[in-house]
């Protein structure tokens, strides 16, 4: 190992702006804790869940899906050519979960009671499973990250202990997100007769976990490209390309199961009845599922950076679109009333996502997360070969 570096954090104008957003959000959050939800949010009896749950929590957790899908591919299936992206995926996932937990804490009314579910077991609630799995998985990810942390901050005994437990941690680190990614969907099983049947289904947990999984590679592609751009590196194009196979097949299965489920429940025709819900559903399916499937399937699109990037952006936007449809579009008839997030809700959300970017930058600049530059060169030659053959 090289000699110990000092901690660094470069300050640029963009980072200053983001730091300002974080401070505004922190201020608004303190105000909210003191004066209650009604004082800062537009939430109401018709819309008990809004931007923080719908976007920060549901989308944040889904977008962090890159962590567990990469862990499965790299550490369980040992597809070593994907190693270059493994740590970056873990890191984004970890920060995503911390953000989600913070937004959950912001959103609960009686926040000093947040620890109750650990002791008063409402095990018949889907939320109970979600809560336990998310808390435990965040802890597991912190421990997984510990291995990286101790590469910089030397502490041999702790590193040894962690290394010993790495296999069970890795396995837990896949089971737990599998469970709660699906339960985030199961949360809406209770909303039978409320959530529009285009989205409500007894197998909504499958749709949630499956989409969180196939979103992983797409998210890694976007992050990788962004990081490469920001730090003037070469994007790991070959890794991105061969990952598209995973996404492609999983999305085809997703689409087939979706259509089969809708026709089994006899509601397929409502997708074409011209209502607002049905149009939103069609957009979700055509623009955000079928279009990326097509782009991933055509080699001349998939093998170019712009192609794989555009398709990945569609996939990620599609999962966000789907979650928004479940939380807002599909529920609007069942709940009545109306809701649009207040300025403060937006500012707190923007602040949290700014914090995510800042923490990511700080960590990759100080810890060994991204592959060494010379390692990419050799690594990419072999994987370009496999990527195109496959």
């Amino acid at each position: 190992m090289e000699k110990q570096r000092n901690w660094t954090f470069r300050i640029t104008i963009y980072r200053l702006i983001m730091i300002a957003f974080v401070f505004i959000a922190a201020g608004a959050a303190l105000y909210r804790f003191r004066y209650g939800l009604g004082s800062v949010t537009n939430l109401n009896d018709h819309w008990p869940w809004g931007l923080w749950i719908g976007f920060d929590l549901l989308c944040g957790i889904a977008l962090a899906g890159g962590g567990f899908s990469t862990a499965l591919i790299v550490h369980v299936l040992h597809k070593e050519k994907y190693l270059p992206i493994a740590r970056a995926a873990l890191l984004t996932s970890l920060i995503g979960y911390v953000i989600a937990l913070i937004s959950l804490f912001l959103d609960i009314g009686r926040w000093y009671n947040f620890w109750r579910p650990f002791f008063y077991w409402g095990y018949h609630s889907v939320l109970f499973e979600v809560f336990w799995c998310i808390s435990l998985y965040t802890m597991v990810q912190v421990l997984e990250f510990g291995e990286i942390f101790f590469e910089k901050v030397k502490c041999a005994p702790l590193q040894k202990i962690l290394h010993f437990f790495m296999t069970p941690l890795l396995i837990l680190g896949i089971i737990l997100p599998t469970l709660h990614q699906s339960s985030l969907g199961s949360l809406y099983v209770v909303a039978v007769d409320k959530l529009n049947p285009l989205w409500w289904s007894m197998i909504i947990p499958f749709f949630f976990v499956w989409s969180a999984f196939f979103l992983g590679p797409a998210m890694v592609t976007i992050e990788g490209t962004l990081a490469a751009k920001a730090y003037g590196r070469k994007p790991e194009l070959s890794v991105f390309q061969s990952l598209t196979k995973v996404t492609l097949w999983m999305m085809i299965i997703y689409f087939v199961v979706k259509v089969a489920d809708l026709s089994y429940r006899g509601v397929l025709s409502t997708a074409f009845n011209g209502s607002f819900e049905s149009n939103m559903f069609l957009i979700e399916m055509i623009v955000f599922v079928l279009a990326p499937i097509f782009m991933y399937a055509v080699p001349s699109i998939r093998t170019r950076l712009w192609g794989v990037l555009t398709a990945s952006i569609l996939v990620v936007a599609g999962v966000i679109f789907n979650r928004m449809n479940v939380v807002f579009t599909g529920m609007s008839k069942g709940m009545g009333g109306h809701y649009f997030p207040s300025v403060w809700e937006w500012l707190i959300t923007i602040g949290m996502w700014s914090a995510l970017v800042l923490i990511y930058c700080f960590i990759v600049e100080n810890f060994p997360i991204l592959p060494r530059e010379e390692h990419i060169e050799t690594g990419s030659h072999t994987s370009i070969g496999t990527g195109i053959q496959a």
């Binding site: 499965l72 040992h78 009671n113 939320l127 089971i175 949360l187 039978v192 060494r372």
Partner: protein, 270 residues
């Protein structure tokens, strides 16, 4: 014996005595009249309005007529709110009422996540949005009064016996008796089977869908839906864990190991 209430819509005159009785008994603040586009006042249930009479102008036998429906918590036999709560802050008591532990039993379990509001098929639980530490509020079927052998406050205020308190089974039998005796009634007891049955039940001489009721709903209770999904959790945990462990060891043999500490480095860009 679980208790219940039978509401006969055809007998209600819309006097709102039940509303007032509830407010008086629980010392709830009055809501300013907000009759906007209908005669409903208050316009909907809220954290301080646990019951209200909704007014419906309908056409029946070629004439315009009024019907009045008292709305409040239905006190489901298998309540969605109770099953949805991850700290078990709701409780279905033996004699019928569904109560909220923090305010009713002085057990402050509630986290304030509002999943009960998503889960309730009748959109009953309401939140104290303007408080720093809000509670969820809703009708509690006067469970303290029931324990003392009294009727709910609203029932004792009703001048026309439109709402009748008693054992749920007896009331259900009486409901069908009334329906079978007089042809004007719709042949349906709302709440007999809806979502597994509710303690509050309605009969009416006007189709329920014209009175703001959610009709054609599931006869299965909401908890049974979520339990159908949740019961797989332990199997997935163990099974998926076993598969992953097996795959990890199987594929490990075939791959060469990388020294991860040599592979990554902090990004260097000054």
């Amino acid at each position: 014996m679980p208790k219940g209430v039978l509401v006969d819509v055809s007998r209600c005159i819309g006097c709102r005595s039940c509303q007032t009785a509830c407010k008086n008994y629980y010392d709830l603040p009055a809501t300013l009249p907000a009759t906007k586009e209908s005669w409903n006042n208050p316009p909907e249930l809220s954290a301080t309005d646990w019951t209200r009479v909704s007014y419906h102008m309908i056409k029946k036998d070629g004439r315009v007529q009024w019907r009045f429906v008292k709305n409040q918590c239905m006190h489901c036999n298998e309540p969605a709110c109770e099953s949805a709560c991850f700290t078990h802050a709701f409780l279905k008591t033996e004699n019928g009422p569904v109560v909220y532990k923090p305010t009713d039993l002085n057990k402050d379990y509630c986290v304030g996540c509002r999943y009960c509001m998503i889960a309730c098929p009748f959109n009953v639980p309401k939140f104290e949005w303007d408080k720093t530490f809000p509670y969820v509020r809703k009708c509690k079927f006067c469970f303290e009064r029931l324990n003392q052998g009294l009727k709910p406050a609203c029932v004792s205020a009703c001048p026309t016996e439109a709402i009748k308190f008693g054992d749920r089974d007896n009331l259900l039998a009486e409901a069908w008796q009334r329906i079978n005796r007089e042809s004007r009634y719709v042949k349906h007891v709302y709440g007999e089977k809806e979502y597994g049955g509710t303690a509050w039940m309605y009969i009416s001489d006007v189709p329920f869908e014209q009175l703001g009721f959610k009709t054609n709903v599931s006869e299965r209770s909401i908890p049974s839906y979520s339990w159908n999904v949740l019961r797989w959790t332990p199997y997935i945990f163990v099974g998926w864990g076993a598969i992953l462990t097996a795959m990890r060891y199987y594929t490990k043999k075939r791959s060469q190991t990388h020294d991860e500490s040599e592979m990554y480095a902090p990004v260097d860009k000054g």
